[in-house]
């Protein structure tokens, strides 16, 4: 039916194929390295200047089509390859928004030219794929604050071959004021500190640690005692960085710190005196063990989990988040914390949660993580991942994660765990039954609309069919072997006690955001798993370590350190703990809307008669002091930064004013005829858990003057103490 006519010059197939560069193996990496497919250029979702490439090359097939087929004759010129627009643009020979990317004498140009000259051959999808990249050396130490080091990137392919891809990779540093890295992978020290440099190739990112040490011949390790594995690893790290840890904190500081951290409350004056009078060597550990068993510990960890799990109760039925549901959930969490339920079981119960929201606590994972009339699988999948693994998997929705290992395949396989989650109306308007509809269609891949069966992150194949896939999800996620889970939990718990996670932000775990002390996070994660996810045992490890008990006072080496735990960091009290502290210090009272009298701030979660879809803290004080509004799972919703409105609230707001003014603390003492120095000491112990220094006492006694029955100066003193940084911070 078809007869070729007027046959012109024909390229013999064998000739063309010979030594022709491969599109996927050779051409795509050049587009990546040259920045053609980055987000600000042709990798933008709508392309650039009329030409679109997939961001960082996630869709090679589509890119091949767009380069060679979309506008035949425009982007490549098969008749005169060197006149191809693609080459003219890249070498800046014609106007190009992206300017000149490489010169005609580079291998990049030669490869592209050869590929076009060969007739732009497509390569089957069977071309070997990179399966891993390595960056050498893994660790670089610059002595004396300067120096350079060449790095090499090697890719391993699915056929087992290896290839040096240094000149096809992209490089970046996490902190250019410590070390920079140029486009050829040459690392140069710029200033004291530690950071990571990264190489990216294909869909992989990998880092090497860089440590820049000062010229410091006087550095001498002081050999502090190591209480446990945490101290051993920290000490090793500090020696490598030529830092010395601060001294151990004094008993007063330790007492206040450990009370706030373990029970969310200040020590009473009695507890102060008991502890200070105790002369036993192990009194700190004894106190820790006592606090681990306290109700305050259970309340505090219920509070922390309720915040992460976005527990809020409302009165708008269709979102399935009625106060009754929130209460059932809260009480269930409280029970688990009280029993010291292994954290993996605690999480697994929620993942497989099924049934009535007002009867089954754990089923409310699927109401409280949603706070909406409809369950949106993608949102739920993203929040679930961020919460339980610290991975922001949603970055892989539109393209492979540019700075981590996650692909679109991972993302859509993950979303498919949640496509069947539904709630159907129960016997009354507030009640909804949570269930997983196993017949729900799986998520479709963005690039080719392929249905993606439920697959765990990094999984090779989908989970077995037939059963509720949430069971496989729970089993995988909460396994002690799952580092995504153990590292996330360990990091979050560590951050509560140390004021900073080993990875920050807590919920942004990725290859390009490595921990400041990798071995420590590994060890913590392993111990957490090995302890069968025993929260109290794990916290005991942390709080009994010397590292936790260090003073905040810097020494000559560690004043600038905020990341290596060489000293204690000042931490503002959480909004709820702060409010409880004010109430406790002043013997005051503070009620909350929709909660019974006597409820503590750390026993409170936001309730409303209305709907719960928006941010709610439940109290104006919480609003001011940055308690999470629980409108998202982001760890950033809990704010500990000081603000002007906080200062104003403490100085002039009713919380402190009314507690100091109407509290009975001073009046009681005056009535009892307590001498001024004792009253002042009592106020100090209440607010700061320490006695006043002699010079402080002297000055304050002068302020009280001779009229020892006038309560005004005492009120001023108390007010000042509660407004001091020392009160608002844990140190």
């Amino acid at each position: 039916m078809l007869r070729p006519l007027f046959v012109l010059l024909v390229c013999a197939v064998s000739l063309c194929a010979e030594e022709a560069p491969s599109f996927r193996r050779d051409v795509m990496p050049i587009l990546f390295r040259s920045g053609c497919n980055q987000g600000t250029c042709h990798g933008s979702a709508s392309g650039k200047d009329g030409f679109m490439l997939s961001l960082f090359g996630y869709d090679a097939k589509g890119d091949y089509y767009r380069i060679t087929q979309e506008m035949v004759g425009r982007r490549v010129n098969l008749a005169a390859p060197e006149q191809s627009l693609m080459l003219l643009k890249a070498t800046g020979k014609v106007p190009h928004t992206g300017g000149e990317l490489f010169k005609a004498d580079t291998p990049y140009y030669q490869t592209l030219l050869k590929w076009i000259a060969a007739g732009t051959p497509d390569d089957a999808a069977s071309v070997p794929q990179p399966v891993e990249i390595t960056l050498a050396p893994e660790r670089i130490v610059f002595e004396g604050g300067k120096g350079t080091q060449k790095t090499t990137v090697t890719a391993r392919y699915s056929d087992g071959t290896k290839r040096d891809v240094t000149d096809l990779a992209l490089f970046a540093t996490n902190n250019p004021s410590t070390a920079k890295i140029d486009k050829d992978g040459l690392v140069a020290a710029t200033g004291r500190g530690d950071t990571h440099v990264f190489a990216r190739f294909n869909r992989f990112t990998i880092g090497s640690e860089v440590i820049v040490l000062p010229q410091d011949k006087n550095y001498q390790w002081t050999n502090p005692v190591a209480n446990n594995y945490i101290d051993e690893i920290i000490h090793d790290r500090l020696q490598k960085l030529r830092l010395l840890p601060s001294e151990l904190s004094d008993d007063e500081t330790f007492l206040r710190r450990v009370f706030i951290d373990l029970s969310g409350a200040l020590p009473t004056t009695k507890e102060y005196h008991d502890f200070m009078a105790d002369t036993a060597n192990d009194k700190r550990t004894v106190l820790i063990d006592r606090l681990l068993k306290s109700d305050g510990f259970t309340d505090l960890w219920t509070d922390l989990w309720a915040e992460m799990l976005r527990v809020k109760g409302g009165g708008y039925a269709p979102t399935a988040t009625d106060v009754k549901a929130a209460d059932v959930y809260y009480e269930w969490i409280h029970d688990q914390m009280a029993q010291n339920r292994p954290l993996n079981e605690f999480v697994a119960d929620q993942i497989t949660g099924t049934g009535s929201n007002i009867n089954s606590g754990p089923a409310n994972l699927y109401t409280m993580l949603v706070h909406d009339v409809r369950v949106t699988p993608k949102n739920l999948a993203a929040d679930f991942s961020q919460l339980f693994t610290g991975v922001r998997i949603q970055c892989a929705e539109c393209h492979n994660h540019p700075f981590d290992r996650w692909t679109q395949d991972d993302y859509y396989g993950w979303v498919s765990f949640f496509t069947g989650i539904q709630r159907k109306l129960g016997v009354e308007p507030r009640e909804f039954y949570v269930f997983n509809d196993l017949s729900a269609a799986p998520a479709k891949h963005l690039v080719d609309e392929r249905p993606m069966l439920p697959t765990v992150l990094g999984g090779e194949s989908s989970v077995p069919k037939g059963k509720d896939p949430r069971q496989a999800l729970a089993a995988w996620l909460t396994s002690p072997k799952n580092e995504l889970f153990t590292r996330n939990l360990a990091n979050r718990i560590w951050a509560h006690f140390m004021g900073r996670g080993l990875v920050e932000p807590l919920d942004d775990m990725r290859v390009s955001n490595p921990p400041t002390n990798g071995p420590l996070l590994d060890a913590l994660a392993k111990h957490l798993g090995d302890s069968r996810f025993n929260l109290r045992a794990f916290i005991r490890d942390i709080t009994t370590s010397r590292t936790y008990q260090l003073s905040a006072q810097p020494n000559a080496t560690n004043a600038a350190d905020t990341r290596q735990f060489s000293r204690s960091q000042l931490r503002r009290l959480r909004a709820d703990v702060l409010l409880d502290a004010i109430v406790e210090a002043t013997d005051g009272e503070r009620g909350f809307g929709y909660f019974p009298k006597g409820t503590k701030a750390i026993q409170h979660y936001p309730r409303t008669p209305g709907d719960t879809t928006h941010a709610m803290t439940g109290d104006p004080f919480f609003e001011t002091f940055g308690r999470a509004g629980r409108a998202s799972v982001c760890a950033c919703d809990t704010k500990l930064e000081p603000t002007l409105s906080q200062t104003l609230h403490m100085v002039a707001g009713e919380t402190v004013q009314s507690q100091v003014g109407f509290g009975k603390v001073i009046e009681k003492q005056l009535k009892a005829g307590t001498p001024p120095e004792t009253i002042i000491e009592d106020l100090y112990l209440r607010a700061l858990s320490r006695k006043p220094k002699p010079e402080e006492l002297k000055a304050l006694l002068e302020l009280v003057g001779s009229d020892t029955q006038d309560r005004k100066p005492y009120q001023d003193i108390f007010w000042s103490l509660l407004n001091s940084t020392e009160f608002i911070f844990n140190h």
Partner: protein, 454 residues
């Protein structure tokens, strides 16, 4: 060359296959279920009442809700099929189920019948083709006679056939080559010469209506662009028009040879006089690259298209806009006039092939998937199905090429006649000879093939 075997028309007019859908029987129940709470007798949000037929036709504050025969342009249909949850009707609810949407579509396409006794509101159209009597021109059919010898540059491989045209009066075909145009005798199937085009790539090739002038437009991408007119007999360059900063992507010569229209990445259509080479008009309405330009054979209209799917009809002499033809959702790749100037055909990357009534811009026949590619087993995702080339023949027949690697012949009224499998390469251009006897296609492999009957 074998004679073409014209098959009887395969009737595929737009709604022949659809059952009769009526407001009373099918549509009102759907409206009652999903719409009447807000757009009914009690409440009329946006002044729209769908509770009775007359009010439905009247529409609301935002204009008519339904347009007979054009679901794609009906506000109601756009509202219920919007992909964005925030825009879709009914608000904050799941979309209306697909079978019901299909019923509404068929109801609109079928002409908004009220009851089974009602007539379709889509006007009957005369789409018949009457061949214009051969233009009476003196002299024999113009063929190259005394071309200057020109040796095409030696190339590793030929340029894909990105432009091709058949003379309307002679057995002559002009084909794009790298920096030249080759001329082929359609009867003898011999190459009879070549014209140098040092300006660059010929992106568009057109013959004048009398077959005496050959227009070649193109240039070097992002460097230069122009239009050159050649004398067909002698191969002499008559004039060069335009001095663009990018290659000309679309161009045409008016039937009276007085005007050349050109466009490209600049999104502007420029109309030059051929006598003095001066710019006459700049037409600025397109929002993306101009992809095709073509004058109607009667010289009255200019049709233009762009990469975003827009098509406009202009007054060819005054330069004013006549009509905007909106139906394409992606780049329009080809435009062609039927020789009676009554019908304009358009094809694009969205797979649409449309015959437009030039009088009022009505899409008389719409093929939603004119070149459907086969879906390999286990293959997911969208397979490109664009229509890449169109050419009308003297009897009103249309020859199209598409990304399914097929060349298809259509009857004057849009019926499918014949399909030619073109597996060797992507077919980029089609041409029908002046006498309708030769069907040609040019491919991405640089080869021109003749498509014979059987």
């Amino acid at each position: 060359m074998r004679p073409l075997l014209l098959l009887p028309f395969l009737l595929t007019s737009a709604f022949a296959a659809d059952a009769v859908i009526t407001y009373d029987e099918h549509i009102k129940p759907i409206f009652r279920e999903h719409c009447l709470k807000c757009h009914g007798d009690d409440e009329q949000k946006a002044d729209l009442n769908l509770a009775n037929f007359t009010a439905t036709l009247k529409g609301g504050s935002g204009d008519k809700a339904v347009i007979a025969g054009r679901s794609s342009q009906s506000l109601l249909f756009q509202a219920i099929t919007a992909e964005d949850d925030a825009e879709r009707m009914p608000p904050k609810k799941a979309a209306i189920p697909a079978p019901q949407i299909e019923l509404i579509r068929q109801w609109i396409q079928g002409g908004l019948r009220e009851s089974s006794a009602s007539k379709s509101l889509v006007a009957e159209r005369d789409t018949s083709f009457t061949p214009t009597t051969d233009i009476q021109l003196d002299g024999p059919p113009p063929m190259p006679e005394s071309l200057t010898a020109f040796t095409p540059p030696a190339l590793k491989r030929p340029l894909p056939v990105i432009a091709m045209a058949a003379s309307p009066r002679a057995p002559l075909i002009a084909v794009a080559g790298h920096e030249h145009v080759r001329l082929l005798d359609a009867t003898t199937q011999q190459e009879i010469g070549a014209l140098a085009f040092p300006e660059g790539q010929p992106n568009v090739i057109r013959f004048s209506l009398d077959g005496r002038v050959l227009m070649v437009a193109g240039g070097k991408p992002v460097q230069s662009g122009s239009v050159v007119l050649f004398d067909v007999k002698t191969g002499k360059r008559l004039t060069t028009i335009g001095d663009e900063t990018d290659a000309v992507l679309a161009a045409d010569l008016s039937p009276d040879q007085q005007l050349v229209a050109l466009g490209g990445s600049g999104k502007v259509i420029k109309i030059y006089g051929t006598a003095d080479g001066k710019l006459r008009h700049k037409l600025t309405k397109h929002t993306d690259w101009i992809t095709a330009l073509t004058f109607s054979p009667d010289g009255k209209k200019l049709a233009s298209s762009d990469r975003a799917g827009g098509i406009h009809l202009w007054d060819a002499t005054g330069g004013g806009i006549l009509l905007s033809l909106s139906e394409h959702k992606a780049a329009v790749r080809a435009l062609a006039w039927r020789s009676d100037s009554k019908m304009l055909a358009s094809g694009g990357e969205d797979g649409l092939l449309i015959w437009w009534d030039a009088k009022d811009g009505w899409p008389t026949v719409t093929k939603n998937n004119a070149h459907p590619p086969a879906r390999p087993q286990g293959f997911y995702g969208k397979i490109p199905n664009g229509v890449l080339a169109l050419a009308f023949g003297p009897k009103g027949e249309l020859l199209s090429a598409g990304r399914d690697k097929q060349v298809r012949l259509w009857s004057p009224s849009g019926g499918a006649v014949k399909s030619f499998s073109y597996e060797a390469a992507l077919p980029l251009q089609t041409s029908i000879t002046f006498d309708g006897k030769g069907l040609f296609a040019g491919g991405a492999d640089g080869l021109v093939r003749i498509l014979s009957g059987n």
